[in-house]
Structure formats: structure tokens, C-alpha cells
């Protein structure tokens, strides 16, 4: 029981990170119908800037806020400069552009902060030490029902719940939130009531990238290093989370993220022989596949009737 509880909380903590990135994916998808393949890499770029601010002696808390600002600007600029003009051409073009952003940012991380280039690819693996945001000494834990809960897991979980609450307030009690929901619900009608949909989409991308940045920082703190391939798997887990929750439901993204974290940790814990460290990503794969086949709109998403 104690072990179960411990695994549950660790899973929730890891899932929190997926939830943060999944939230970003969902916010963008709701507004534009695009899947942002560069979400993970945007987060990674921001994480590197946090590392950089830290190197310059900025206190970690402020560095994280600055990193989120960098993320916001990066996301908003991507929407305005690249996605908006190209989305008039075709969804395929948007897909390619986000893949291009994925590769560009990944290369840029290596180019600026150093990396080891493997032949014919941009994916290096040089690691940079990253400070943990939360107490992470071996004895930083408290005991509940005999389970050792690390303060780190606890703090991460709390942080995500706070972010979730802030977003909930933003969506439901601000004018911008109302506009974002209106655009997601019916973009033509949103224009007709005088909402500048382009501005709203810019903010959506910005907010998505800023939340993603926080996810990246927390994850880097968890693994205590940053490297160029840090976010590949996290992105897939986040996508799995968004798929599970339903791609147009922010609440679903949080629930999905936490579930994926828990499923994965329990699977790795109880079926270590089968899952192990290697096949954790296989769990995400199976979840995506199963959800898309059995319930394509996810747990909380709305299914749309296709019209011809």
C-alpha cells in the first residue's frame, strides 16, 4: 500500500509535467485546429534560457519567470510570423512549418549552448547541469501512511494544480478568456461580435508556449540536466495526454497528463520486467493508439459530425 501510494504520487508528479505541455497543445489546437509539433522544442528553448539566466546570476525564481516570458514571445511570434500566413495555404504546410520549427529550435539549442553533433542529424546529446527548483536531497520527504512522499513530487503536483487554477480563472473570468473560448467555439461568430480573432490566436500561442516553458523547466529540474533530446519523449507523453483527454478540452489535458504519468509509473513499477525504463514510451504509444481507435474524441473532447 505504501509503495503504491509512493508510486502514485511520483506518477502524478511526472504526469503534471505532461499535463503542462498537453495544456499548451490543447490551447493551440482549440484555437486553430493545428497540432504544434514544436511545442516540446519551444519549451526546451525556454528552459535553456532559464539555464542561461541562472548562469548570469539571476535568482532561479525570476529566471523561470523570464523564461516563461521568452516562451510567450516565441510562441506568439511563431503564430504571427509563420503559422498565420501559412495556414491560408494548407494544413500540410502548417505541419511542415511546425516540423521546421522543431528542427530549427533544436539546432539552435545546440548551436548556442553547445552540443555534440551526430553525423547527418541535428540531435546532439551534450548535457548541461540544471538546478532543481524544489528540495531534492535524499532526505527531503515526508511520510503519509508509511509512504515516503518526496517534497519534490509534492511541489510539482502543487505547482500544476496552481497553474490549472490560474488558467481556469483566466478562461472563465477574464475578457481574454471569454474571447479565447468564443474563438475556439465558433470563430466566425467570434468575428461577428467584434473579437479580433488574430490577436486572440497570438495570445493563445503565447500562453501555450509559456506554460510549456514551465513544464520544460520543471522536467529539467527533475532530471537535473538539460540536453537536446530532453523533450522528445515528454512531447509524446504530452500528446498522449492530450489525446486521452480529448484534444479540445483543457481539463481533459490535465486529467490525461496525470493519468499517463500514473499509468506509466505503475506499469514500470509493477511490471518492471515487461516495461522497464525502455518501454515506458511504448505505454504512451499504446494509449494514443487505443484512444484514437476506440474513442477518437478522447475522454472529455467533443466529437464533431463531419459534413460533406
Amino acid at each position: 500500500m505504501a509503495l503504491f501510494l509512493q508510486r502514485l504520487v511520483d506518477g502524478l508528479a511526472e504526469g503534471s509535467i505532461y499535463a503542462l505541455l498537453a495544456l499548451g497543445l490543447v490551447i493551440i489546437y482549440r484555437g486553430t485546429g493545428h497540432l504544434n509539433f514544436a511545442q516540446g522544442e519551444m519549451a526546451l528553448f525556454s528552459t535553456y534560457t532559464v539555464y542561461q539566466f541562472g548562469e548570469w546570476g539571476v535568482p532561479i525564481g525570476i529566471a523561470v519567470l523570464l523564461g516563461m516570458c521568452v516562451g510567450f514571445v516565441l510562441g506568439a511570434a511563431t503564430e504571427v510570423v509563420l503559422v498565420r500566413p501559412i495556414s491560408k495555404k494548407s494544413p500540410f504546410a502548417v505541419f511542415i512549418v511546425t516540423i521546421g520549427m522543431f528542427q530549427l529550435l533544436n539546432w539552435l539549442d545546440g548551436a548556442i549552448w553547445g552540443g555534440q553533433q551526430l553525423p547527418s542529424t541535428a540531435m546532439g546529446s551534450k548535457q548541461v547541469k540544471f538546478p532543481s527548483l524544489f528540495p531534492s536531497n535524499p532526505d527531503d520527504y515526508f511520510t503519509v501512511f508509511g509512504a515516503a512522499i518526496t517534497w519534490r513530487s509534492f511541489c510539482i503536483l502543487a505547482l500544476v494544480l496552481v497553474i490549472g487554477a490560474v488558467l481556469y480563472l483566466l478562461f472563465n473570468y477574464t475578457k481574454l478568456g471569454l474571447a479565447m473560448r468564443a474563438v475556439a467555439s465558433n470563430s466566425e461568430s467570434a468575428k461577428l461580435v467584434g473579437i479580433r480573432t488574430s490577436t486572440v490566436l497570438m495570445f493563445s500561442w503565447g500562453i501555450a508556449a509559456a506554460i510549456g516553458a514551465l513544464g520544460g523547466v520543471v522536467f529539467a529540474g527533475l532530471t537535473t540536466n538539460v540536453n537536446q533530446s530532453l523533450m522528445f519523449q515528454v512531447f509524446i507523453y504530452a500528446s498522449a495526454a492530450a489525446t486521452l483527454g480529448g484534444f479540445d478540452s483543457p481539463g481533459g489535458a490535465v486529467v490525461g497528463g496525470l493519468s499517463i504519468g500514473v499509468i506509466q509509473n505503475l506499469a514500470a513499477g509493477y511490471a518492471d520486467e515487461w516495461v522497464g525504463q525502455e518501454m515506458k514510451v511504448g505505454v504512451a504509444f499504446l494509449v494514443i493508439l487505443a484512444v484514437l481507435l476506440l474513442r477518437p474524441s478522447g475522454l472529455f473532447g467533443t466529437s464533431k459530425v463531419e459534413r460533406v
Binding site: R181, A182, S185, E188, R196
Partner: protein, 237 residues
Amino acid sequence: MTLLRTQGLTAGYGPLTVLEGIDIEVNEGEIVVMLGANGAGKTTTMRAISGVMPRQGIIEYEGRAIQKASPDAIVRGGIAQVPQGRGTFPELSVADNMRAGAYVRRDSAASVQADLEKWFEVFPRLAERHAQRAGSLSGGEQQMLAIARALMSRPKLLLCDEPSMGLAPLITQELFHVIERLNRDEGLSVLLVEQNANLAMHMASRVYLLETGRIVASGSAAELGADDTIRKAYLGF
């Protein structure tokens, strides 16, 4: 006094030209009805005036040219549209739908709330369902909501795009009474697009008849009702 005037308004989708030069006028305090069969270009006219699609020609509102204005500037100027097919925000609550209607207003939240209450009095069924998702309302209720939402921006001119579509006759009548009352009591000018010719012509100050992208006849309801043009445009004989 002329509130809205278009001159040589043309618009289309990609290679398809839908409007081939439309000249219409709406005077203050009027209900102007635009009739026409499906595909004649009624909705396109509405969307072109609201600025949500590319258009050429002249659109004048209160004497100012607005054919280059953005949709939000047009709403701010006092033109609100009730889109075709109940273009509500189905995932949002009824109250949030109406608050979204007040999006362009710069006055206090309290005065928005006051307007909300006011329209809830006019549309009591919306008040009952203020916390429900708009998508769960019946067709008639959604149409009411779309009108109430448009009114939340305090418009001078209301563009109503085929409010009777898919509604039972009794509900359509009720809807039209509301529009008439708004016109009479609030001094709201209305440009109404309709398929339901007989009903709409009862309350029209003037009528335009649209056929394949151009105005083929115009005049008072009595003038147009007297000849066979409308009958012919709709039924082909």
C-alpha cells in the same frame, strides 16, 4: 436619414463570384427585408457588410465608408449581425454567449451586467437557462440567444440572417414579433434576410428581391406583393 448604403457591392469565394453589384439602403428606424431563393447571395451580402469576407464596392454607414474596416471596428460602430443557422457559441453558457456579445464595449462590467438583465427580461426563456450550454438549447431558443447576443453590443443596425431557418411556423412568428418590438420600442434599424416571404413582408418598410447575385426588384411590401416577381423567383412560375 440613410444609415447604411451599399453601392456596387461585389463579393465571392475564391473563383466564385456571388454578388454582382448590390445597391441597397437602410434608413434609420426601418425594417428592410431582403428576399431571395437559396444561393441568391443573401448571406454573402450580410457577411460582406459585417466585414468577415473580402468585398469590393462601397459600403457607407452613417456617411462613412466602411468597406475597408475590420469586423471589430464595424461592430464597434454599431452594426451587429445575427448569423445564419444560429451561430451561437455552443460550448459556452447562455450568459457567456451574451457577455461575448458585449465584447467590444468599453464601459463598466456593471453596465454590461445591467444590459444582460434587461435582455433577460425581454427573453425570459434565456434567463431560465442562463447557466446552460448554448448547444443544449432548442432551435428557437438559440435563435433568441443569437439576437440577444447581438443586442448586447448596443447596435444601431441589426443584420438578421434568415432567423426562421429550420424553425416551426409558430416559433418563427414569435421571433418576428420580437424583432418588430425592438424596432418599435428601441428604434433599432433592421436589415432582415428571409426565405419566408409572406411573413417577412408584413413587417417590412421596404423590400429588396435578390436573384443570382443582383437586385431584381425593390419597393414597398405592397408594391412587390402585388406583382408576381416574388412568386416567380421562389417557385419558378
